[in-house]
Assembly symmetry: C2
């Protein structure tokens, strides 16, 4: 299935999660195995030639894409979560939002300086979350080889915040 | 890898998320592709002979297991989430906890009366969440064929709350 066909499955939801925002609902892609496999094939192609040791998935829709990719590629899956969700000692990274701030965490022992990771999430929007995850991986000692996204929202210019190369399957 | 070997990877974390609770940390299983594949092979065997149309995954560690199983079995993945997370019209189900209550939601159009689903989550504890998800699937019109869990905490007797058959890979 082409990216355009997969894109046509996405449902726009107005005023979610708050007024003025048009949310891109990807659940129809998850519910369509042929579309979903096309996304996975794209991600697998993006990893060609890279020596990747871990898939790092961002809570919580990133868990879905990351868990599928990790099992297909037989790679370890490492979780990046919101504060207080990971049970053992963590490294954390806080970053500014338009209003307020947010924090992400990774287990302190999840990665080493030998590791070369690929970060995965559903959407690249402002890039704040993705950038924070890059910083977390580096604080944990690992090298970020690439970032992968199902959707990129071009006008929010999140790509400008990323340090490692990235790929997105669908652009809006 | 045998269930006993996979079980030995799980880390007990005392007093998480609150005092007196010993949390079973499954992240070492996610980080070990051979162990993780053993879990998946078990789940795949559990589905043999069943006519399953959807994998229904419970937020958020259930998303991980469900997304891996769905991509391996080429089945649609349907999400059950906490309130306010699913963007379109939902069916919700509330259930009592020891203190207070909790609610889960599924998209109203996610399932039909033709559908036969398998519910998946990381832990079967008191069974409240799993039972609520069974009810949600039925409210959405679908038949629950089976429930799958990575871990079952026997002393909490969650199995007594389930209506459909279930399998757990590891028991404590």
């Amino acid at each position: 299935m082409t990216p355009e066909t997969v894109k046509s499955l996405i449902k726009d939801v107005k005023d979610f999660p708050q007024e003025g925002i048009v949310f891109k609902d990807i659940t129809p892609i998850l519910e369509n195995p042929v579309a979903y496999r096309s996304v996975m094939n794209f991600f697998i192609n993006c990893l060609e030639g890279l020596k990747v040791t871990h898939i790092v998935a961002i809570e919580s829709r990133g868990f879905i894409l990351g868990a599928s990719l990790a099992v297909l590629k037989e790679l370890p899956l490492t979780l990046v979560r919101k504060p207080g969700k990971l049970p053992r000692k963590t490294i954390s990274y806080s970053y500014d939002l338009e209003y307020g701030s947010d924090t992400l965490e990774i287990h302190s022992d999840a990665l080493t300086s030998e590791d070369r990771v690929v970060i995965i999430d559903d959407v690249l929007a402002t890039g704040g979350t993705a950038h924070a995850t890059e910083e977390l991986c580096r604080k944990a000692g690992a090298q970020v080889e690439k970032l992968l996204f199902l959707i990129e929202l071009n006008e929010l210019k999140g790509a400008s915040k990323l340090q490692a190369p990235y790929n997105s399957f669908i652009q809006f």
